[in-house]
């Protein structure tokens, strides 16, 4: 049954053939970035000891590269970058606040426990 009291479709989501070409170009560009970052991560994971890097540097490099990948997926592939600014905050901020607080609590406790255990 078709209901006309609900707006089913987001405004301006359709685009023409030419606009599609530009969007596809962007998609392939992001694909290249994601692939290169994955290859980098694997190389770093396998060779970091022979490169003489410190573990904490490698670890934060991994986390940084992951957040970069996640950003491209959410903003381009999930089109969150094309939504209203308030919608972006509305989706991302509560989540970020909650998870960062959880991580803070858990890591504080974990470091304490590992000291007690050893």
């Amino acid at each position: 049954m078709k209901r006309d009291d609900i707006i089913e479709y987001s405004l301006g989501a359709e685009h023409s053939e030419e606009a599609g070409k530009a969007i596809r170009k962007k998609i392939w560009f992001v694909t290249a970035i994601l692939s290169v970052v994955t290859v980098l991560e694997v190389l770093l994971g396998v060779y970091w000891t022979s490169m003489g890097l410190e573990w904490w540097v490698v670890k934060f490099a991994f986390i940084g590269l992951t957040v970069l990948k996640a950003g491209y997926i959410v903003m381009v592939f999930m089109h969150l970058g094309d939504e209203r600014k308030m919608f972006k905050y509305f989706i991302l901020l509560p989540y970020a606040v909650f998870i960062l607080y959880l991580l803070y609590l858990l890591f504080t406790e974990a470091v304490f426990l590992s000291e007690v255990l050893t």
Binding site: A13, T31, T38
Partner: protein, 241 residues
């Protein structure tokens, strides 16, 4: 007696229709809400994985020493197979976003093509995960191999402090987290493949042409990208860090 309740407010302020909040359709916004709740579950799981890792920091295994197997070969190839799985999932995410793009142009043929490839990619990922689980449980040579060749639920020889003189076993949480996190993610992939398949059949039947838009492809696309997103984090926090 006219108070706040009886005051006339114009339709625009009340959202009496005309435009939706944030200019996002109802279905898409609800999909985002669902994804946030799902992301909280995965976030909680990965955060507790981090907790265990730091609690047992001296004995926690190094994943690149465990995941060294590759199908059809006995070569020592650390992380290569899981990198392949990551790549498959990223590629299937790309085909999904291309299906969404084709949907915006109402190009039914291209939507079918890219959505079909997405389903195939998801199926390859599921097969890879089945292979990885069985290898992790039984070792690359099957049941007759020595158990020390791999990590099992009860035995784990790959703790950071492990030497022949100091045979510390890694905590069982390592393999428990492996099965729970990848299993929970794998369940999402399975349901994603099934949902994509249902939508693909709808596209082929011309269902969305009748409705006038391909927003359903966009909505399942959000879910599928989310699965890819979660895997990116699982890959880092389980296999790399």
């Amino acid at each position: 007696m006219a108070g706040e309740v009886t005051k006339i407010i114009d339709q625009k302020t009340l959202w009496g229709g005309g435009r939706s909040p944030f200019s996002v359709s109802y279905g898409k916004m609800m999909m985002w809400f669902f994804l946030i709740s799902d992301a909280l579950t995965f976030g909680g799981l990965l955060a507790s994985l981090g907790f265990m890792k730091h609690k047992y920091v001296d004995v926690w295994p190094v994943s690149e020493q465990i995941f060294t197997h590759f199908p059809f070969t006995h070569a020592h190839l650390p992380l290569l197979y899981v990198a392949f799985m990551t790549f498959i999932l990223i590629v299937s995410s790309v085909t999904m976003v291309l299906a969404v793009e084709a949907g915006h142009r109402k190009d039914r043929k291209n939507v079918t093509f890219w959505l079909f490839l997405t389903v195939i990619g998801g199926a390859i990922f599921l097969g890879s995960q089945a292979w990885e689980w069985s290898t992790f449980i039984a070792g690359p040579d099957g049941m007759i191999s020595t158990w020390a060749d791999n990590a099992t639920l009860t035995q784990n020889f790959y703790g950071r402090g492990f030497t022949a003189d100091n045979p510390i076993l890694a905590p069982v949480q390592y393999s428990q987290f492996f099965f729970f996190v990848t299993g929970f993610h794998g369940t999402h992939v399975l349901s994603g493949v099934v949902i994509n398949l249902i939508i693909l059949i709808g596209v082929m039947q011309g269902k969305y042409e009748k409705v006038g838009h391909y927003e359903m492809v966009e909505k399942v696309g959000l879910y599928w990208h989310f699965i890819d997103l979660v895997w990116v984090f699982v890959f880092t926090f389980y296999y790399l860090v």
